[in-house]
């Protein structure tokens, strides 16, 4: 490359945020007097947000924010279940994590119950026998009646709440933002809401959801995260374990963006310069102590120097010992020699036999050899003592150190391990590995930065044949008259956690421009806090519409008992309610097949079920009662 300055290399590391357990709040006095304040829960499939709907500035934000997950190890007690922020790091427990959701609908009410327990306990509710607070809860658009029924049953019969109100998260957010933009109700507009599991197109006409024309796209944040995870798994098969879903979510939250024009943006990425500039290198944590020589050069040299020093010490000690031994032996031989000199011949011969020698000459030569060896050893010891201080690492070639061992004569015991120890060092000394450990542990996140958010607009990227978000919007708009279309696009509203990518609004504007008639007007707004506004909207709604009597939007306990669990009192941010008699659940297997026959007698069966459930009897008895009535 001609340019001298290297392109800015963007290296990031994963934050791996840890959550800390939520405190258990005191029940604030303002929430009990004059009336008990509603508890507002945005029951999202990604995160649960809970707080008070009290007109106190202190409670104007959700008190609890936690992932909607529960983890219980097998065989542990139910009370042992960890919920949301109890789990500081999701990854080790990933295989145990359970959610009450299947897609965007609550199906597992046992976990939902645990979540409610957690919320109420942490909000400080400690009343005996019931939760004396109205509840505002979000649900999926067009929530199946069965699910609402189960939810109402849980709230009214387990917690004995006085009132419940259900609304749609995207609509609450729409309500909140319109309110703050001083648009007075009834509102008209079209909401594009994208959450964790599903995205929705929700047309709102005169303050009511036009549910007939609302559509759902089954692509959202979780799909983007798993798509990114899979892509990186395939790109870096060596880092399978390090590419975790939590990190992928972080990548999506912090490093991804929506291309205004996907095709044009990709053409930019084709250029190597652009790639170098824009690629985010994600540094994975790594330790230098990986076996297989994957360490830096300095570390290698340091380690080798240590090994050398150790070997030298061992050698010196061994040499000293040998010298000592030789010395002792020499003294002994000298004593025998003296016997000869003194003329004690028979003693001398006896000693020779003991020493396994034949003649005086042999003894003499042996003594000479030993003397030589001792002298050499002594000199070497002195020499190495002096040299030790100024010994340079790697300078002493191993073969030079080998010489003294070789020149020792037959008597000296060769220590075979020393040369073997040092010899393999030699080639390692020469090789300078250019392997960069840090770079090996970097994930290059290039086009993935825009490729994963793009699946919202092109589900075909993941092989889904469903329409993308904007195509669905066009499809929905086409069902209205031109005047209605005009009114709807004058307030296109984006909300939901998956809409937070930079460039999202521009992208929607661009595509709208392409699909709307020439010189027509439209307005796209983004929620002020896309992920949290549903909660704020629900709180505002609760403040504006206090429960009581037959207030719109609230389901009282009496309503529940008279109209059934699936009953919904509509309001500006709710689903539409289609009166449909749903059989009160009967605890018997054949109920599934006989559901149609039971719908006719549903009302009476439902009531009988409630009364029987109120008495503290076993559920099988209750089932028998309702079986009889049906």
């Amino acid at each position: 490359m001609a340019s001298l300055e290297r392109p800015v290399c963007q290296i990031f590391s994963f934050q791996d945020c840890k959550t800390s357990p939520d405190p258990i709040f005191e029940l604030p006095a303002q929430c009990l007097t004059p009336t008990s304040a509603p508890i507002v829960i945005d029951n999202g499939s990604f995160q649960t947000r809970a707080g008070w709907g009290a007109p106190v500035a202190e409670f104007a934000s959700p008190r609890l924010l936690f992932r909607s997950v529960a983890a219980r190890s097998r065989g542990a007690a139910r009370s042992e279940t960890q919920i949301g922020n109890d789990i500081t790091n999701l990854e080790p427990l990933r295989w145990l994590l359970k959610s009450q959701f299947d897609r965007n609908v609550v199906v597992n009410f046992e976990i939902q119950e645990l979540i409610f327990d957690y919320v109420f306990t942490h909000l400080g509710v400690a009343s005996e026998g019931s939760v004396e607070h109205p509840m505002v809860l979000t649900e999926a658009p067009c929530n199946p009646l069965h699910c609402r029924q189960m939810m109402s049953e849980l709230l009214f019969e387990c917690y004995h709440v006085p009132y419940v109100s259900y609304g749609v998260d995207g609509l609450y957010s729409f309500y909140y933002n319109n309110y703050h933009r001083n648009i007075h109700p009834p509102h008209t507009g079209i909401v594009l809401s994208s959450g964790y599991h599903c995205s929705h197109i929700l047309p709102v006409i005169n303050g009511r959801l036009d549910a007939v024309n609302c559509k759902r796209v089954n692509v959202a944040g979780s799909q983007a995260a798993s798509y990114l995870q899979r892509l990186l798994h395939l790109k870096y098969p060596g880092h399978l374990a390090a590419i975790t879903l939590s990190r992928m979510e972080e990548l999506l939250h912090e490093h991804s963006y929506t291309a205004v024009d996907y095709h044009e943006e990709l053409e930019k990425w084709r250029s190597p310069d652009f790639y170098e500039r824009e690629v985010h290198r994600m540094q994975l944590p790594f330790s230098g102590k990986v076996p297989g020589g994957c360490v830096s050069v300095e570390e290698r040299q340091e380690r080798r120097a240590q090994q050398l020093r150790r070997l030298q010490e061992i050698n010196a000690r061994r040499r000293e010992e040998k010298l000592q031994q030789d010395h002792v032996r020499l003294d002994k031989l000298m004593a025998v020699q003296e016997l000869l000199d003194d003329g004690l011949l028979d003693q001398f011969h006896k000693s020779l036999v003991e020493l396994n020698m034949d003649s005086a000459e042999e003894l003499q030569s042996y003594i000479n050899k030993l003397q030589l060896a001792v002298e050499q050893g002594r000199q070497k010891l002195l020499h190495s003592d002096g040299a030790e201080g100024k010994m340079e690492v790697g300078v002493t070639p191993p073969n030079q150190r080998k010489i003294p061992m070789d020149e020792g004569d037959g008597v000296m015991l060769m220590d075979p391990d020393f040369p073997e120890d040092t010899l393999p060092e030699k080639p390692a000394n020469v090789v300078q590995p250019m392997f960069n450990m840090a770079e090996y542990h970097q994930l290059f996140v290039g086009t993935e930065r825009l490729r994963c958010p793009e699946i919202l607009f092109q589900p075909s990227l993941t092989g889904e044949d469903q329409m993308g978000l904007m195509e669905t919007l066009q499809y929905v708009l086409a069902r209205y008259t031109p005047e209605q279309q005009e009114a709807l696009v004058s307030n296109v509203f984006l909300t939901g956690g998956n809409m937070q990518y930079p460039g999202m609004r521009e992208r929607v504007e661009r595509e709208l421009l392409a699909m709307r008639p020439f010189q027509s007007h439209f307005k796209v707004t983004m929620a002020s806090q896309p992920a949290l506004d549903a909660w704020y909207g629900a709180r505002d709604w609760a403040l504006e519409h206090p429960p009581g009597g037959a207030a719109e939007g609230w389901i009282s306990r009496q309503d529940y008992e008279e109209k059934g669990g699936e009953y919904l009192s509509e309001h500006c941010s709710s689903n539409v309610f289609i009166p449909m008699k749903l059989a009160k659940p009967v605890a018997a297997r054949p109920a599934e097949s006989s559901i149609t026959t039971q719908t006719s007698t549903a009302a009476s069966a439902g009531i009988s079920m409630i009364t029987s459930a109120l008495t503290p009897s076993c559920s099988t008895v209750a089932a028998d009662v309702s079986m009889v009535t049906s």
Binding site: H146, V212, W269, M467, L582, E592
Partner: protein, 142 residues
């Protein structure tokens, strides 16, 4: 609700550390605000109220919803699904995500440049099938 823990015959190794605390906690009182006699009901719940009951998944719930006497224009969960796309799917490289003009006849992977092609040819088969599965293109018939 009295929580009686039926200890499973073999405890997995992972829960050993939480074993003693679990037994101690099993006698912990449920939160005071709950109705102690509450049991979840549930359609088809022979196991209703049992601890190890299985909950219906969304598919089963929707199958149940379909049996209800809906009118033609009633919105409900299963008919608000967006219809299949009418536009042809654009083709992008499986490796780089760039617009792709070529398909490798051997692996069926899409690619944009000769470098990518040589990279594809070096890929092990499990990675190749991984890429294909990612866009649900593992079907044998092309």
């Amino acid at each position: 609700m009295t929580v009686v823990e039926t200890v499973s015959e073999v405890k997995p190794a992972g829960s050993v550390d939480s074993g003693p605390t679990a037994t101690a906690e099993s006698t912990a009182k449920p939160p005071p605000f709950k109705d102690p006699s509450f049991m979840h009901s549930g359609i088809g719940g022979a196991a209703a109220g049992k601890k190890n009951r299985t909950w219906k998944n969304l598919k089963q719930i929707l199958a149940l919803e379909r049996t209800l006497p809906w009118k033609l224009n009633d919105p409900n969960y299963y008919n608000i699904d967006a219809p299949p796309s009418l536009k042809p799917a654009k083709k992008y490289s499986d490796i780089s995500g760039l617009p792709a003009n070529y398909t490798d006849p051997q692996t069926k992977l899409r690619f944009t440049s000769s470098e990518e092609f040589s990279y594809i040819r070096l890929l092990p088969t499990d990675v190749v099938t991984g890429y294909l599965a990612l866009r649900k293109a593992t079907c044998i018939v092309p």
